[in-house]
């Protein structure tokens, strides 16, 4: 859909604003460019519709070099939304929305029809079409700004921090609305932002830039899980990394690796002694080769100590267990729902690897609440 090939932009005399950018964007993808100011994210985006012309390299849309096309014509085929909304104050909402169709010389009726059709997409009443931009709230205005970019149904839309000037609540609502709209319409979006939350929420892939170069391109999950370097980590923010820990941390990372166990061939008295040593009220029962067989708790021993002598005769096999690579957030949910106190962790061969207890979770919650203060 959109390809950057060794694209470099040098502003007269100064250093490279964008240095050798290579990127391939697929149709229907939502791409967020993010980075500190001056990292070249906006420059990269504006080169796509030639508001800024690349110094070197090629940008291809559907395989066609943009430099070889008529600039004005090409821009009419790309949606464009800017941060300051940029609705024309002397045009009605309808005229604003259908500006590009007008440039493309659609008939008046067709334009009006299109405007009415579009305004329904963002749940604004049709009467608004005859109002002027200043009569709408900021959030409503930016909805119109987005519609204006959609008017001629372009496959590609460029957005330059479109929600940056809105208050947080409006922004949040609009982000969700827009993400939903994008999925429904299957548009390819290039979206510039400096807000990591926004990027994580919206993007299919995030392009992190610094000093005119790409630092990392990946899905939000992957970037949170495996930041490419310290810059990305600091850019994501420590706070967010801790916050998102439950999201991407696996059970394997936080489990207690030495659970209290007893072999099924051992005697009940050994078991009760071990419970006393470890100060626990139940033990995981393992077979040969560390395979998890079940568990035994103090009540089982109490009830059966006269009848049996071996753990293997009385242990319970009904046991909820998880794999090492399960996400901690799912595990927490299940533990809380089942009211279990712990979950054993096993590998593919059902060998016991560790245990997650409620105490482990307390540690995790403690980290995310107090973790920052510990560093100070």
């Amino acid at each position: 859909m959109l390809t950057f090939e060794n694209v470099t932009k040098i502003y007269s005399g100064s250093k490279k604003a964008v240095n050798n950018l290579n990127l391939q964007i697929e149709k229907g993808e939502f791409i967020c460019f993010i980075g500190p100011s001056g990292c070249g994210k906006t420059t990269s985006m504006k080169m796509v519709n030639r508001l800024i012309e690349p110094t070197e390299g090629r940008i291809l849309i559907d395989g066609k070099d943009i430099m070889k096309q008529n600039r004005v014509q090409m821009r009419r085929e790309i949606g464009y939304v800017i941060q300051q909304i940029g609705l024309f104050p002397h045009m009605t909402i309808s005229e604003n929305i259908t500006l590009v169709p007008k440039l493309l010389q659609w008939s008046k009726e067709k334009r009006r029809e299109r405007a009415a059709e579009l305004i329904k997409l963002v749940n604004l009443p049709e009467e608004y079409l005859d109002r002027y931009p200043q009569e709408l709230s900021g959030g409503q205005q930016q909805r119109i700004g987005v519609l204006r970019a959609l008017a001629s149904n372009p496959p590609l839309i460029l957005m330059d921090e479109p929600f940056g000037a809105l208050d947080p609540i409006t922004r949040d609502g609009l982000q969700e609305e827009f993400k939903d709209l994008q999925k429904r319409l299957g548009k390819t979006i290039v979206f510039v932002t400096h807000d990591m939350d926004e990027a994580i929420k919206l993007a299919d892939r995030i392009v992190i830039m610094k000093d005119g170069e790409i630092v990392q391109v990946d899905t939000p999950d992957e970037i949170l899980r495996n930041p490419a370097n310290e810059f990305v980590e600091s850019f994501i923010g420590k706070e967010r990394l801790i916050q998102t820990k439950p999201d991407v941390t696996t059970v394997g990372q936080i489990m207690n690796k030495i659970p209290a166990t007893v072999h099924k061939e051992e005697t009940l008295s050994t078991a009760i002694q071990r419970m006393k040593e470890k100060r626990v009220d139940s033990l995981l029962v393992i077979g040969d080769d560390q395979t998890l067989e079940g568990y035994i708790d103090v009540e089982d021993i109490e009830e059966n100590r006269k009848k049996s002598t071996l753990v293997g005769e009385i242990y319970e096999t009904e046991l909820y267990k998880v794999k090492e690579d399960s996400l901690i957030r799912d595990t927490i949910q299940k533990m809380l729902r089942r009211h279990t106190k712990y979950v054993p962790v096993v590998d593919e061969q059902n060998r016991l690897k560790g245990i997650v207890t409620r105490a482990t979770l307390a540690d995790l919650v403690y980290d995310s609440i107090w973790g920052d203060e510990d560093d100070n």
Partner: protein, 217 residues
């Protein structure tokens, strides 16, 4: 009162003629001013480097004593209405040129970027965005020019262009204050009237930014 009636009986037709001449000279000069200064003003916004120099030159012209300018054109253009109109035209330039330049220059850059990014050509940007939004500022320049020019046009009488200045200079030469008034009062009224009418025109030309339905709602 009698004197006034008598004056009108004697000079009524002359007054009408002089008023017409006066209006004619000033309006032609303003019109020429608009025709030249507005396009030049727009052009200057496109060639930033020249803007300062051009505006400075026009400002300097503005400081020339008007009488001197009128006299200056006699050897070139002779006497009569033409040198008067040309001289006044120069005076009309500055306010219109400067206001056009500032008005267009002050267009919200975001609007320009949005327009350009959506595929508007330069001409489309000028005519459907920049010019409509700059109308109030340009019109303010036109109004100032017109009012000044109607005042200065009395001096055109010096180069034989006619107009209400004839009354004033006759009055000065003949020591007849009523003739001075006969020139001064109509010229003042003309200036006020022109300003009023141009105010209406400005309102008409300024694009709406509010729906009437919303105001009453």
């Amino acid at each position: 009162m009698d004197a006034l009636i008598q004056f009108f009986q004697e000079q009524g037709s002359t007054l009408a003629l002089k008023t017409w001449e006066h209006l004619y000279i000033s309006l032609i000069a303003v019109l020429l001013g608009i025709l030249v200064a507005v396009p030049v003003g727009i052009l200057l916004t496109r060639i930033n480097r020249a803007a300062d120099t051009v505006i400075r030159i026009v400002s300097i012209i503005q400081t020339f004593p008007s009488l001197a300018i009128l006299a200056f054109f006699i050897p070139i253009l002779g006497v009569g209405k033409v040198p008067a109109i040309v001289a006044l035209f120069f005076y009309s330039m500055l306010p219109i040129l400067r206001n056009t330049y500032i008005g267009i220059k002050n267009t919200d850059r975001n609007l320009l970027e949005a327009g350009r990014g959506m595929g508007m050509t330069n001409t489309q940007l000028i005519f459907s965005v920049e010019l409509p939004l700059a109308i109030p500022i340009i019109m303010a320049g036109v109004r100032v020019s017109t009012v000044y020019l109607i005042g200065w046009a009395t001096l055109a009488s010096f180069v034989g262009a006619g107009g209400l200045g004839d009354f004033i200079f006759d009055g000065l030469n003949l020591y007849q204050p009523e003739l001075i008034l006969a020139g001064a009062i109509p010229s003042t009224i003309l200036a006020l009237l022109a300003d009023f009418i141009l105010g209406k025109v400005e309102k008409k030309l300024t694009p709406t930014t509010k729906s009437t339905h919303y105001e009453t709602a």
